[in-house]
């Protein structure tokens, strides 16, 4: 998708008045957030497991080239094929070629954020191949031609009424007077419609939550079972995964899985965790005849060893956005690209450039809740600050803002000047504000007083009063 992150501010302002969105986002508190808290409380070792999960990824990243080579060796030995894709376009070409070689007309898809990142659906469609999203949330947004607004709950911004309207418009083979009031009825209808697609697809594309070097295995985690039908029914299975998804062993996978679902949905574990190694074996009655893995770099190797290195530990659980006050106010679409919320505020500029995504690392209160809940202990605010530094150095910081900052810093670095200036200005301001104790409007502070009053200063500055007190005694 074409990034819309430059328009973050406008998008966010629109989102703030979108009532269905507000209602949908309001549900996160009693859903994901409450469930994560419960899962954490149920597992006394949770904090230690976070440390261990972080250590697993740190070790893997420090040996990433070697583990990738081992992983490839095992995939090949099990009869699978590994395709290395330095860029999104390399990945798209590799996937299209596999689909064309298979003579594919329809492709079912499990949920894959990498698929979103490389915009594979549009590419396949342009080549005459129909991609069908099978994760219910992805299906809902595909039929609306929207981007996901959350990395694990792509349609979290929609209400059931919107879904009902879409289904009536799309599923025209079904009687119009059917009852579609409850989520259960909507889910049953999607199940029925998609079941036909699963059975008819030529190729299945899934993402991967983990790649295991020990065994050459790809792992997907789902609750619906759609990813499994996507990968075990068609003749060809393509896994698309970015290189940092690698872990060394099954034991290391266990550690990550123990924090993943608990952080994401708050489940002890997801319903289905599937470990796939290679294509169908001679004695197998089912499974794909071909198994391909497209390994995507697309900017990750540039993050490696940089100040954004830690971001490569991310396991895409979504806890950061579930707990983010900004995400909770504006939702995912405002962020304008594939990855929203705090993880997106770091990953998006890393992948599409800070010029395109400059707003995202700025649109944070630095409340630190994202880092506090991140199972991989990624210092998200710190990395957002690094992006702010890059922007500042590049001169991307808005001129008026930068001027204000410079003037303030000039004075703040000279305490005599600072105290002389504030000693004049503050008592004056206090006199104007004395009557009501606050200002309803104030020049140059429109952003503040548009929504709230500005409390007036009490009178003299503390420094003035303290010096006066000292002089007396």
């Amino acid at each position: 998708m074409k990034p819309q992150s430059r328009a973050f501010k406008t998008n966010a302002t629109q989102a703030l008045t979108n009532e269905p969105l507000k209602k949908a986002l309001g549900g996160i508190k009693h859903g994901f957030v409450a469930n994560r808290a419960r899962a954490r409380a149920n597992l006394p070792e949770f904090e230690q497991l976070r440390d261990e999960a972080k250590a697993v990824k740190e070790h893997t990243l420090a040996h990433l080239d070697l583990y990738l080579e081992e992983y490839e060796k095992k995939v090949t030995a099990s009869g699978g094929h590994v395709h290395w894709a330095p860029t999104a376009s390399d990945a798209r070409e590799a996937i299209l070629k596999i689909c064309q070689d298979a003579g594919a007309k329809t492709v079912t898809k499990g949920k894959t954020m990498i698929g979103e990142e490389i915009a594979i659906n549009d590419y396949l469609e342009d080549a005459g191949i129909t991609p069908v999203e099978t994760d219910l949330g992805e299906y809902l947004i595909q039929i609306r031609n929207e981007a996901p607004s959350h990395i694990i709950a792509p349609a979290i911004h929609l209400t059931k009424d919107q879904v009902e309207a879409d289904f009536r418009k799309l599923h025209t083979s079904l009687p119009y007077d059917r009852v579609l009031e409850e989520p259960a009825q909507l889910v049953a209808e999607a199940r029925k419609m998609l079941r036909e697609q699963f059975l008819a697809a030529d190729v299945g594309i899934t993402g991967a939550n983990l790649l295991i070097a020990e065994t050459g295995t790809s792992v997907i985690v789902t609750n619906e079972g759609n990813g499994d039908l996507t990968q075990c029914l068609p003749r060809v299975h393509i896994v698309i995964a970015s290189i940092e998804k690698t872990v060394p062993t099954l034991e290391d996978a266990n550690t990550i899985l123990r924090v993943l679902a608990r952080s994401a949905t708050g489940q002890e574990c997801s319903t289905y965790t599937t470990f796939t190694t290679g294509p169908k074996r001679p004695e197998d009655p089912d499974g794909p005849e071909e198994y391909h893995v497209v390994l995507l770099d697309n900017g990750r190797t540039e993050m490696l060893g940089s100040e954004f290195h830690d971001m490569l530990r991310c396991i895409r659980c979504g806890a950061c956005m579930n707990h983010c006050p900004v995400y909770g106010a504006v939702g995912g679409h405002a962020y304008g690209w594939v990855y929203p919320g705090p993880m997106g505020a770091v990953l998006t500029p890393s992948l599409i450039g800070i010029d395109e995504a400059g707003h995202l690392p700025n649109a944070s209160t630095f409340c630190g809740r994202c880092e506090a809940v991140c199972p991989m202990r990624i210092p998200l605010p710190k990395m957002m600050r690094h992006y702010r530094e890059r922007e500042y150095e590049k001169g991307n910081t808005p001129h008026r803002y930068k001027l204000g900052l410079k003037l303030w810093a000039f004075a703040a670095k000279r305490y005599r000047l600072y105290q002389a200036l504030t000693g004049l200005a503050i008592p004056l301001m206090a006199r104007f504000g004395k009557r009501s104790g606050r200002f309803r409007t104030i020049p140059l502070a429109g952003g503040w007083t548009r929504h709230r009053d500005l409390p007036a200063p009490q009178g003299k500055t503390f420094q003035q009063l303290w010096r006066e007190k000292e002089a007396k005694s």
């Binding site: 966010a12 703030l16 508190k29 006050p325 900004v326 106010a329 504006v330 700025n362 649109a363 944070s364 209160t365 630095f366 409340c367 630190g368 809740r369 506090a372 710190k382 600050r385 702010r388 530094e389 890059r390 922007e391 500042y392 150095e393 910081t397 803002y401 900052l405 303030w408 810093a409 004075a411 703040a412 670095k413 305490y415 105290q419 504030t422 503050i426 009557r435 009501s436 104790g437 606050r438 309803r440 502070a445 503040w448 548009r450 929504h451 709230r452 009053d453 500005l454 409390p455 007036a456 200063p457 009490q458 009178g459 003299k460 500055t461 503390f462 420094q463 009063l465 303290w466 010096r467």
Partner: protein, 262 residues
């Protein structure tokens, strides 16, 4: 203040006033001095202090932040402790200075030594000075907002509650989502005013639902944001820095209130 076992020699505390307290609400500074003196400290206010540099640091202006950090460290050389009535500024001093000044071994060492002696006021009173209660009276129901930096960078959660609960006549009514950001975020509220507003609206709804007469927190930035919103919404609610209540210094009009009416 309760008489506790306080070391023979009075430790020297340099009060880091913070710019907002200096400019907007000096009474918080005086409350801090009173609390620190009652906790057996010798308090001084070095003149050569202005701002900790956080606005520059969080805006990506590393160079100015760097200079301000070195100025601040120099101003507090020679004190046993540096104490600030703000979790956010104290977090800057104790957590971010070492990071900001970490590039050069000489400044890194100074920053680490400085960070070790830098504390937020209420956690300093409870954790370092061992204060268990304050000996004052207060009549009313208060609710306490956990400011983000204090809570998540410094672990300030129980300390203010412990002291508040020791006050005779004070009833602490917890609000829902006390740990969630108020939307201030320093320069965030200026850069993204509409988002900031949406966040503070949720906060004031929680504050109002707590049925308290007074909102307390340990950071003046957050307090000004919440007070400004409450007043714009026409709510009758006193808003104060927690130090004012702990020091029994609530004669001054509350934040954003005038002398006659509040």
């Amino acid at each position: 203040m309760a008489k506790t076992e306080i070391a023979e020699a009075k430790p020297s505390v340099g009060l880091f006033v913070t710019c907002l307290v200096d400019l907007i609400r000096p009474s918080v500074g005086f409350a801090a001095v009173k609390l620190l003196e009652e906790a057996g400290c010798k308090v001084e206010v070095p003149r050569a202090q202005t701002c900790c540099g956080q606005p520059a640091y969080n805006s990506g202006d590393k160079k100015d932040a760097h200079e301000l950090a070195l100025n601040t460290i120099a101003a507090f050389e020679g004190y046993d402790y540096v104490v600030a009535p703000s979790g956010s500024c104290a977090g800057m001093l104790s957590h971010h200075y070492p990071e900001l000044l970490g590039d050069n071994p000489e400044t890194a060492e100074r920053a680490h030594a400085f960070a070790k002696k830098a504390h937020e006021l209420v956690s300093f009173l409870v954790d370092v000075r061992g204060i268990k209660k304050v000996d004052i009276k207060y009549s009313g129901r208060v609710t306490y907002h956990d400011s983000c930096a204090g809570l998540r960078e410094l672990g300030i959660k129980d300390q203010p509650r412990k002291l508040l609960k020791s006050i005779q006549g004070l009833k602490l009514q917890e609000m829902d989502e006390a740990e969630i950001c108020c939307g201030f975020g320093g320069t965030f509220c200026i850069k993204y005013p509409d988002i900031s507003n949406a966040i503070v609206e949720k906060k004031t709804a929680n504050i109002t639902a707590s049925k308290s007469d007074c909102l307390l927190a340990g950071d003046l930035g957050c307090l000004m944001n919440m007070a400004g919103k409450l007043s714009r919404e026409g709510r009758q609610m006193d808003v104060r820095h927690v130090a004012e209540v702990l020091a029994g210094m609530t004669d001054e009009p509350a934040i954003g209130a005038n002398g006659g009416e509040s």
